[in-house]
């Protein structure tokens, strides 16, 4: 009997052949927290009686959610985390370094590893063939101290992709379409495993965008094979030696298989207040937008800024629509400066925010007014998510976001591309 990617990785790490439904104790290869979950992790670690981190060089603290701190309470949380890092000798990425998931992908995650992060979007590293999942502060505190965790081996929902993306349609449209189809709880507890022709040719940035949103369908992990694309990404980031090939077996048992022909997709938008409430961008034409936000662990990479810059080049945002852009990491920011995208975007009226989570979760940097709508490239549009329960959040691709910033309302980006 063949194995799914989840079964393969967890068998490899637990040291015994496990199947969906089994419970396994597995060593943790990388554990991380961010500044809104990390302080509780530090306190729980101290309460547990565990004195030292099992693996300080693979324990990472990120200050990205309130970055830089907008209030003294966050500043004190940051201080607590910096002191803990110093005491324990673990890694810390400070304010301005970028969003945890982007840095994990750029510098830390490797195929075949088990990664736990105290952030639901820790699933992002599934793009590299790592069993990467989000947990709470206490689970991660214990993983940091014991160097292991327990996991139920998830059943697999396989997503088989075929076809060719039409112009103006991107992987963000694919994942929004998929979540609309299966629902915000359609993959709860499951492994979403992506395969097919489209995936075989898909670059790492696109894989990261898709894996990132697996949790929006309730999934425990969003897994991609580890292949030549993974290998070249690892090489580019100076860790080619960490490459191992990983593919699901032909005869693997998947609970369900869903086929998506990407040739048939159109620019897609999630409407307030759930991610599965999807519509086509053209169906929402005329929906006024007061703020466009391009960034986050979903779509704040250099390829995303490239798409936005191409659409906005030589043009100016609608005077009634603010345009906020946050590169996902310091590296992305530097690349965007070097390639001239930042200049293009600023000329088009964009405000560049520091690398980090920025406006995504309602802490700072772009909180909406009552009745306002934001079109965002993030992953979540829950009521109140961006700091005001009386506002509205739409989710879309960077292309749809950039085109809508020009129009001042939601438009199909193919109108301007």
């Amino acid at each position: 009997m063949g194995s799914t990617l989840a079964e393969k990785i967890l068998s490899r790490n637990s040291g015994s052949a496990v199947r969906a439904g089994d419970i396994a104790v597995v060593p943790v290869d990388l554990a991380f927290v961010q500044d809104t979950t990390g302080p509780l992790t530090v306190r729980q670690f101290q309460a547990s009686g565990l004195k030292r981190l099992a693996n300080p060089k693979r324990t990472v603290l990120f200050l990205d959610h309130a970055a830089p701190s907008p209030r003294s309470e966050h500043s004190n949380d940051h201080l607590l985390m910096r002191r803990f890092a110093e005491e324990q000798g673990c890694l810390i990425f400070d304010v301005g370094d970028g969003v945890c998931h982007q840095i994990v992908a750029e510098r830390l995650a490797n195929p075949g590893e088990v990664i736990v992060g105290a952030d639901s979007h820790s699933v992002t590293a599934g793009a590299l063939g790592a069993f990467a999942t989000g947990m709470g502060s206490t689970d991660v505190a214990i993983a940091m101290g014991l160097g292991k965790t327990w996991l139920r081996v998830p059943e697999t929902m396989r997503i088989l992709t075929t076809g060719k993306f039409p112009t103006g349609v991107f992987v963000k449209d694919l994942i929004l379409h998929l979540i609309g189809k299966i629902g915000a709880d359609g993959a709860t507890y499951k492994s979403l495993e992506f395969g097919g022709d489209v995936v075989d040719g898909m670059g790492m940035p696109d894989r990261l965008t898709i894996a990132n949103m697996a949790v929006e369908a309730g999934a425990k992990v969003g897994l991609f094979p580890s292949d030549r694309i993974t290998e070249s990404f690892l090489k580019k980031h100076g860790r080619g030696d960490k490459y191992i090939p990983l593919q699901p077996d032909q005869g693997a048992t998947c609970e369900t298989t869903i086929e998506v022909d990407v040739s048939k997709l159109e620019p897609t938008v999630s409407r307030p207040h759930t991610v599965d409430n999807v519509a086509l961008a053209r169906e929402l034409k005329g929906t006024k937008i007061q703020q466009v936000f391009i960034g986050t662990c979903t779509n704040g990479r250099i390829e995303d800024l490239e798409v936005a810059a191409a659409i906005l080049k030589g043009k100016e945002r609608n005077s009634r629509t603010r345009l906020l852009i946050a590169p996902a990491s310091r590296q992305v920011y530097l690349d965007a400066i070097e390639k001239g995208y930042i200049q293009t975007l600023v000329k088009a009226g964009a405000l560049i925010l520091p690398p980090g989570c920025a406006a995504c979760l309602g802490l700072h940097q772009g909180i909406l007014a009552d009745g306002e709508s934001c079109l965002s490239t993030a992953n979540r549009n829950f009521k109140g998510r961006m700091g005001n329960t009386q506002s509205f959040i739409y989710l879309a691709s960077p292309a749809t976001a950039a085109a809508s910033a020009l129009a001042g309302e939601i438009v199909d980006p193919r109108e301007v591309m």
Partner: protein
């Protein structure tokens, strides 16, 4: 045996509705944060709930963020268990880690304000107001032991390790 009143919520109650990001600065001040529990779903909940009461919800309760502060403040409010048609994975695990039981059952049979009696060991929920009897599925052995210990920290203090 747990006994208390049902506070009914709908489907898809996200962690943003339980403890919103705009209050993230209170996460190191839990007593203050707990005053806002479920505020964006029901502004009066925190002032009405009494020790022993139940949060009763529809499907996908606790979806979204991994913030463990969500089950933490629900527990601090005195809620003895969460009953839902289904729960998001991270919330479910976080709740158990905080020693807050989550029972998956057909909550359509329960109305807001009903008096409930819950036998955690047997997984049986009795609605004393309308007479309905509901059952919930079993949770894995390891979770049961974490719950019995009062959460993951007391569990690790007791066993010193994760044991299956």
């Amino acid at each position: 045996m747990l006994r208390g009143k049902a506070f009914k919520f709908g489907d898809d109650i996200s962690t943003d509705l339980i403890v919103p990001g705009r209050l993230a600065h209170l996460r190191s001040n839990l007593p203050e944060l707990a005053k806002h529990v479920l505020e964006d779903a029901d502004p009066k909940f925190a002032s009405k709930v009494k020790p022993g009461d139940f949060v009763v919800a529809g499907k996908n309760f606790g979806l979204g963020s991994s913030r463990e502060h969500a089950p933490l403040v629900i527990k601090m409010a005195g809620v003895s268990a969460v009953l839902a048609k289904s729960a998001a994975r991270i919330f479910f695990r976080n709740a158990i880690n905080q020693g807050l039981p989550v029972l998956i059952c057909d909550t359509d049979k329960i109305s807001d304000g009903d008096e409930l009696e819950v036998d955690l060991g047997a997984g049986v929920i009795k609605d004393l107001t309308n007479g309905a009897v509901l059952t919930s599925g079993r949770i894995p052995e390891v979770m049961l032991r974490i719950l019995e210990s009062g959460g993951l920290i007391p569990y690790v203090q007791r066993y010193g390790d994760i044991k299956l």
